[in-house]
């Protein structure tokens, strides 16, 4: 559907890409995994 001309065309036209938003969270999680791996390694070394 083209929402051109509808009252909320601007809102509909600026819809975020929720797929990418969720993808980004994947990157957060893998980054966190990295951090936790490093922490674990550091803790092991410390131990």
């Amino acid at each position: 559907w083209s929402y051109e001309g509808t009252s909320q065309a601007a809102v509909l036209g600026s819809k975020p890409d929720y797929g990418r938003v969720l993808q980004e969270q994947g990157e957060v999680l893998s980054c966190m995994r990295l951090v936790l791996d490093e922490l674990q390694q550091a803790a092991t070394v410390l131990q």
Partner: protein
Amino acid sequence: GRAQVLATLVDTFLEKLVAAGSYQRFANCYRCFYRLQPEMTRSIYDQFISQLQASIKEEIQEIKNEGNLEMLFHSLDKIVEEAKNRQEPAWRPSGIPEEDVRSAIVPYLLKHRSYLQKILKEKEEENRKVAQSVLEGRNKIAELQQLIQARKHAWQ
């Protein structure tokens, strides 16, 4: 009214017809019988006239009943009375149905148009509210994303 005029015209028609077909004329045509039986001739003539008048009046009444003319005449009298202040000729069918049907459809189209305008306005208002919620939802998601980024940076 029209009903009265009709009755008067028929009565006048009958009167004149009877006046034309007078007893003299009748006796004159049936002279041989008239000489033989003048009283009889008179009575036959009278019956002829009353029968003719009765049949014609009966016919008119039947036509009025069949065509529902009393009611139609009455309503036409009223319509004419209502239009008495109007001088200029009124609209008449053009003889082109699709031309004439247009005006008959216009009130419905106008009603349809105002209905569409009404529901469109309602739908736009409804969508404005939903769009408001969507924008709030987007802001909420953006906040969550920022929160997550902040937490991630904190960990990093």
